[in-house]
Symmetry: C2
Subunit: 531 residues, 2 copies
Amino acid sequence: MKNALCLSVCLWLAACGHALGAESQESAPVECEQWGVGEIVLDGPRDGNPFVDVELAADFTDRQNKRLHVPGFYDGDGRYVIRFSPPTPGEWKYRTSSNTPALHDRTGAVAAAPAKEGNHGPVVVKNGFHFAYADGTPYRPIGTTCYAWTSQPEALEEETLQTLAASPFNKLRMCVFPKRYKWNENEPQLYAYEGKAPNQWDFTRFNPEFFQHLERRIVELQKLGIEADVILLHPYDEGHWGFDQMSDEADDRYLRYIVARLAPYRNVWWSLANEYDFMLEKQESDWDRMIAVVDQTDPYDRLTSIHNGRVLYNHTNPRLTHASIQNGSAAEEAGRAVLYRDAYRKPILFDEIKYEGNIPSRWGNLSAEEMVHRFWECIVAGTYPGHGECYLSDDDVLWWAKGGKLKGESPARIKFLTEILETAPEQGLEPIDKWQYPNIVGKPGEYYLVYLGKESPSEWKFSLPRYELKEGEQFRVEVLDTWNMTITPVAEPFTIRQESEYLFVDKDGRSVPLPGKPWQALQITKIGSPQ
Amino acid sequence: MKNALCLSVCLWLAACGHALGAESQESAPVECEQWGVGEIVLDGPRDGNPFVDVELAADFTDRQNKRLHVPGFYDGDGRYVIRFSPPTPGEWKYRTSSNTPALHDRTGAVAAAPAKEGNHGPVVVKNGFHFAYADGTPYRPIGTTCYAWTSQPEALEEETLQTLAASPFNKLRMCVFPKRYKWNENEPQLYAYEGKAPNQWDFTRFNPEFFQHLERRIVELQKLGIEADVILLHPYDEGHWGFDQMSDEADDRYLRYIVARLAPYRNVWWSLANEYDFMLEKQESDWDRMIAVVDQTDPYDRLTSIHNGRVLYNHTNPRLTHASIQNGSAAEEAGRAVLYRDAYRKPILFDEIKYEGNIPSRWGNLSAEEMVHRFWECIVAGTYPGHGECYLSDDDVLWWAKGGKLKGESPARIKFLTEILETAPEQGLEPIDKWQYPNIVGKPGEYYLVYLGKESPSEWKFSLPRYELKEGEQFRVEVLDTWNMTITPVAEPFTIRQESEYLFVDKDGRSVPLPGKPWQALQITKIGSPQ
C-alpha cells in the first residue's frame, strides 16, 4: 500500500480528552496525493458494538468551498477511520460529526499534492458510451473475471497478481464474499463477519482483518493499472455461509461499511451483484434500494453497475453509470450488441460473454477463436467485452473463480486488440452507420475499423458510409489478422469518390486484397485531403 | 358510424335555461354499448373562442362507484360534446363541470348495454409482451402503414378501406396531420385549424369538420377490425404547414382536444410521433411532457407509444404501454429483435422494419421475400413486426403514404403467418431459450415455432430446449413453407428423450426432412404424454 495509501496521521486521543482534542486540531495536516487516500484515524470507544453504536463522518471543504461528506468506519481496537481521497490538489479542511462526543467536531486538514506520474485518477464515463481517467487519459475497459481470487491461499493470490501483471486486462471482476459452486469448495482464509464458519455470523460485527486484506489486494491491482470491479453481493453460496440471504438491514449496513472503506480507492467500481436475479430472496425493489444506499454513501460517485443472470436490470436507472450485461448471444454479433447502446444510452460493458474453456456447461466452453471473435464484435459495436476462462484443472484452480494462471489462447489476441485500440481515436469508437453496417466502427471521416468475422473473403470492396467524407480524400488501409496478430499495410492508398447517396468508394473501384481466411479486420485511416 | 357510435341524445337547452336544465336531468339516459360511444351533447356559448375559453368535463360513476373523469370538447356551432365509452355495462351517471354556468353541474346517465358480437373492447397489454382485447380475445398486432391516407381525396380513401378489408392487417399507423415529403405534395381536403393554407393558422381554433372526418375514418377501421395507431405529430412538414413547429402551448392544447375527441373510440392507440427525434424543434423533455398530457387527459388509458428515427425514446417510461421501434436491422434477425424485450419489458412492436418496394432510398426497397423473412424473425423473437410498402407509381400513390392498392407480394404471405398464429397458444409466443436458440418461440412443453430463415437445410435434427419437457412425450411436426404458403405434416410423430443437460431429441435420433429451400419453418405441437 506504500504508494497508494498516503501517510496517515493517527491522532491518539483519550476518548474524553477534550483539551487534547483541541490541541490535536493544530497538528500537521494529513498529506496525500490527489486521488490518493488520506486517513484520519481517531481513537474512540471499544465498548458496546462500535459497528452499530457509533456514527462517524467528516465534511471536507477545499478553498473553492467544494464540499464532500465522507463516511468513517470502525476498524477494530478502538480505531476509527475516515478515509479521504481528494478529488483536487490543495488543502482540504475537515470537521467530523459523530453521535460519540470523543469523535465529534474534530477538525484538521488533508494536504493533497498533485497526482504523481502514473496516477490518472478514477475512471469516469466520457463521450456517452466510453470512459477516461479523471485526468483525461483514455480508458478502454478490457476486463477479465476471477470471482473469488481474494478468498484463496496467499500463494495463489500472489500468482493471480503476477498473471494479471503480464495480461492485457485493465479491469477485474471480483467478489467480496467467498464463492460456493462447482470447483469452488474451499473455505476462505478470512470472513467478513465475526462468528463461526460456515454459517454462524454476527451480521452486526464486521471483521476488519477481512476488509484490510481485501483493500490490500485492491491497492495491488491499482498498482498494476487494473480497475477493481467489486461485486458486492452474489448468489454462489448454496446455503453454506448465508451471505446471500442477509436481512435488508444487514445488507444495507454491509453496503455502508464497505463503501466507507473502499470508495476512497480510485480503482474501485461497484458492481451491486453478479447475476442479481439469481438471488431469489431479493426483489427488484431491494436492488433499487441497495443501489441507492451505495450511491448515497459514496462521496466519490464511483462507477456503479449491476450484472444479470437471465433478467436484465433496468439500466436506465440514473444511479447506474453503465450497463453491465451478461449475454453471450449479444456478443456473438455486432448487430446485436449495438442495440443495447440505444436502449440504455450509457457505456455497454458485456461483463460476461461466456468463457473460453472446456467445462461441460454451455457457458464455459468457448474456443479461443470464438472468444476473440466476440471481443471484436463487441468492439465494432461501440461496446466493451469482458474475458473469462474456465479450463478444467487437476487442482480445481479455474481462472474464472480462483485466478492462478491463464491457460487459454485468447489473452494474447486480446492484447493485440488492445494495442490497436491504443492507437485509435481517443474519444472512443462509435458505430458509423449503426443499423446498416454493424461491422464498421470508428470516427467518421478519420478512422475506421471494419471487422469481417467468420467470413473468408479474398477481397473487400473499399466502401465507407458517407458521414464526414469528401471526394478526393485519401485513406491508408491495414489488414489486421486478429488471430495471427499481424498488421499488413496495403501499399497504395485509396482515394474516394461518392458512389451513391449512402456510400463512398475508391475512385478506381479498387478493393482491398484479403487472404481468404476468417478473423480479418481492416484499419482505415485518413492520410490526406484534396488540395 | 351506425354500429359504433351509439344513439346520441342532444339536450338542446338554452344557455341560461336553468329550469330546463334541471328538467333535462330527467330525460332518458343516453344508450350505448359497452366499449361503444355515448355522446352527451350540450348547447353552449358561441361567442369568444370556445376552444380556449370554455372548460368542460364530466365525472361518470357506475353502480360500483368506479369513476371516470371524461373531458369534453367544442364541436363548433355552439355544440359541446362529452363522449363517453363505458368500460363496463350498466348505468353510468354523470355530472358535468365547467367554467361556463350553462354547461356546469349538468347531470344525466349513460346506459351501457352488453357488448354485441364482434365488439371485443379495446386492446390491452397482456402477459407482459402480448396483447388481448378487453374481453380476453387474443389480439396479435400485425400492422401496416398509410401515413396520410385520411388526407386524400374521398375516392382514394375509400379504396384504401377496401384494400384494408381484404388484407391481413389488424393495425394501421396513420397520421393526424397531412404529410409533405417526396411523392406527397398534394394538399389535404381539410385542415385541423381555422386559417389559410398553407401556413396561416389560428392554433387556438380547431376545425371540427377535420376531426369529424378523421373520426369517421377511425370508426370505419374499427368496423374492419383494425386498430388505428394514431400518429399525433410527425416531422414531414418541410416548413410547409408548420404543424411540426407549434408552440408547447399549442401542442398541449391540440393533444387535449384530440384525446377528448378520439379516446372514446375503442380502436384508438396513441403514437405520440413518427420519428420523434427528427422533429428538431422539440427536446426530449417536450416528449416527456406531451406523453404526460395524453396520459392525463385520456380516461381510458389507450395504448400509447412513440416511434423513433435514429434515437430510440426511453421506452421504460411507465406511461408507454409498449415499445414502438423503427429499426430494420433489428428485424433482420431474431437474435437481435429479442434483445429489446429484456431492455423494455413490454410488448415490442417493430412499427418500421423498412418497406417492400422499389424506391431508391435504402429504407424503401426490400424484396417481398425479405419483408416476409423479417416478419418471421420478429415473430420467433416474441415481438411483433409491421408491414409497409413503397412501390413507385405513375399516380404517386404509394401505399406507405397515401394508401390505395397493395401491389406487393408480402401481404399474402403475412396472411399465411397470421393464420398460423391464430391457431397458436392464446397467451402469445415466448422465446424458449432466448439467448441460445433465437429461432425458437412457443409455449414450453406444448408448442414450438422454429424458423430456419435463409438457410436451406435438407433436414432438421429434432431437438428442443429442455424446459417443461419429459421423456416419452410425443410431438407432431408440420413443415411450413413460409413463402409458398404450404403446410406439410410429417407423417410419424416424434417421441423425445433427454440428450443433454439442455436438449431433448427424438428417441431414435430422427430428423425432420426438409426441401432444401429457404424460408422454411416448423410447427411442433405436443400430442401425447407417456402413460
